[in-house]
Assembly symmetry: C3
Homo-oligomer: 309 residues x 3
């Protein structure tokens, strides 16, 4: 019967396609037009998310196990350049299953996993916490990473850079996180210690979704062991859904070096979803930054588009 | 009924695949073997088109709107290197619809859209207009770009680099084009002004398809405001279909700096389509280039292959 | 009838997908954790294979002909960096058919095709022949390459870099190989001559599959014409299948510069296939390297994962 042959032929072709579909080409194209205080109208990549492209895949190994790999590259949509080395964000392979996830290579460390979980609205160039004076490591080379499975809402992860690698440069970061999620509640604790630079960072954050608004708060402290000073930072905010497609976000962030003056910033932003993958946004960040902290105010006005592929 | 289940399963799998297929990995691999006057036999990338690879996609936003992104990288097939920064050719995102197309990021400027529309045969390394002494900007960073929809054969576009971006370097280009297409006729006007370097360029080109041959002509003039001299350039040519698969192209180009001597070149080339996506080609460019213009003759003999993927 | 329409719709969508599937995104993610003598615990890319990603495709031209292209990039999973230029491993296009395969661009030379065919177990960072003092060219720019079709088990290939290309740098390599495969037997001869550096290299290798073990042997000699010395190298080994999923590999390699002392190494490794595309492995390489050869012993202990996508 011709009809069923057609259907079977279609099925066969589909199966072949499905086997290949385990490799996914993905990314985010995010760019905004706006003004930084004192400057001219400009375009810059990454208002909400860092622009990126990557390749990832998973292979079913049977018995609930999967092999996973990920290559991910940050890009500057302003000029088309790569950010750092090609696969600066992710270049790792590992196995996941009932025991959790193990991966090896370049990957985000365990502090980074939860660092931005209570950011308000924008999680990138326009984030209110752009005034924070204490940084963190983010992605790290030659890293062994383990994340637990979900245990009644609890999740945890540990990561460490292997010391035998010269590619690490100055950084020798070990980190962990523990998070808890239950219905409207999220709470997290994260920590990193860089034996190379001596910096220790502790992040505590949380959120509560009231339905009409999601309240957000983070505290981040760093304690250098060398000549550097301790820095205490925090931010509070709220994401307010105005409609099914529109969200208003407000945030306030402050950062104080030990014995120094306090930087602070207020941000307000609205994001409107054109579709599941495309959002347009507009936002303002008003800074009060002290000259003693070595920076001028960089108030930002921006209108942008974020497209996930 | 098993049969229809199979068909439905196939359909479901296909739909999932289609959703992903909005991301397309594409490119051109073009390389030729030949000789440049005075040199040995060599291989070089891009006889007909610049070799490239890219990722692009479109998402249907409903209401006739689409979100579009494009990342595109020039490559040298001779040695595998990237040309310039990774996504030097395209790194942009935008929206299109009944109103036209808007995009933001690194993209070809509005002059470039129509610059090569009346080139004869080869549009890259072997083009007769390789003797032209006046260049143009091509792709530009931090650019806001708008193209109209088609209006009874008329199309237009404008583009401008945002001045607040340091990534622009010396270039601060604004450009526009207007083109008209109707049956066998094409005519175009393009203009760019680089406020950074002071150069203004005007291109007028057109073509007429007689059926047995397509006649082509371009005039390109640049008027620097600084110490540089004006340059007047033109080219004429014809593409002659010898069969459904084979096209013969002839072209003549000349370029004269104000108060200087004239460069000229004659090119003849044949392209044979092995398929819709693969073409083999052979061509000659004979140059008469004046030493006062700072270049030796670079007569080229080439045989190559162009494969689009 | 609705049912057949669904099937036909599925088929149509599948056909569209199939046309695109001629472009394949592929690669290998391979990384190990271990120790090199005198160093700390480290992670390094490429225990079994060099980590890589690439894009390749083939287009059916009819008449048994295909157009083929390949772009391939080596990557360091340790830090996410590209190895060399972006498409350092492969950047070529060509045609294949009953006559064989022709390609042009950057590609592996004809010696490389068979160079590792009789390596034992690991073919990359952990290979016993890491103590060999004579290198070879591998991938070469601006190269014209031809491989014959299979002729009763015989295969041959020739490659040459075109001399007119400055991108070649110092290398001007021509190479060929002849191999023979019949049932359990493989034998190969390969040769390269670099007119730039003056080095000539000859590889003879072979293997015999007894079923319970596959015996492997290679001899590689280089004869520099300049101030460099001749180097004679060899390796012997065996791959022993312990089960359908597990293979034990042993190898011994030695290398002696003319008038100098002999480097040697012994390697043993086990590879366990988790699936068709994912393997975990563990291995040791114990070196006896002479100080007169300018290197310390670099004994390696490693446990790793190799995932093909």
């Amino acid at each position: 019967m011709k009809k069923s042959l057609i259907a079977l032929a279609a099925l066969a072709a589909v199966s072949a396609a499905s086997a290949q579909s385990s490799v996914t080409l993905y990314g985010i194209a995010d760019i905004w037009v706006g003004k930084v205080k004192g400057g001219k109208v400009m375009a810059a990549s990454g208002g909400v998310n860092t622009s990126r492209w990557g390749v990832k895949g998973a292979e079913d190994l049977g018995g609930g196990l999967k092999a996973n790999f990920n290559l991910e590259s940050g890009i500057d949509l302003g000029n088309g350049a790569v950010k750092g080395t090609l696969f600066d964000r992710q270049a790792n392979v590992g196995v996941s299953g009932g025991f959790g996830t193990v991966k090896l290579g370049k990957s985000w460390n365990a502090l980074d996993d939860m660092f931005g979980a209570a950011n308000s609205g924008f999680d990138s160039a326009l984030s209110a916490n752009g005034v924070w004076l204490n940084g963190y490591t983010g992605t790290a080379a030659a890293q062994l990473y383990y994340a637990t499975p979900d245990l009644n809402g609890f999740n945890a992860a540990v990561s460490t850079q292997l010391n035998g690698n010269s590619a690490n440069g100055a950084t020798k970061v070990s980190a962990f996180n523990v998070t808890y999620t239950a219905g409207p509640i999220y709470a997290g604790l994260g920590y990193e210690h860089d034996k190379g630079t001596g910096q220790k960072g502790t992040m505590v954050n949380g959120s509560y979704d009231l339905g009409k608004a999601k309240l957000l708060a983070s505290v981040y402290n760093t304690k250098p062991t060398g000549a550097g000073v301790k820095v205490n930072s925090y931010q509070i905010g709220a994401d307010v859904p105005l409609s099914s497609a529109m969200t208003l976000s407000v945030g306030y962030a402050a950062s104080k070096p030990n014995g120094g003056q306090t930087n602070s910033a207020f941000g307000v932003a609205a994001a409107y979803s054109l579709s599941k993958r495309t959002t347009v946004y507009a936002g303002i960040r008003a800074e009060s930054v002290k000259a003693s902290n070595g920076q001028p105010d960089r108030d930002v006005y921006a209108v942008g588009i974020n497209h996930k592929f």
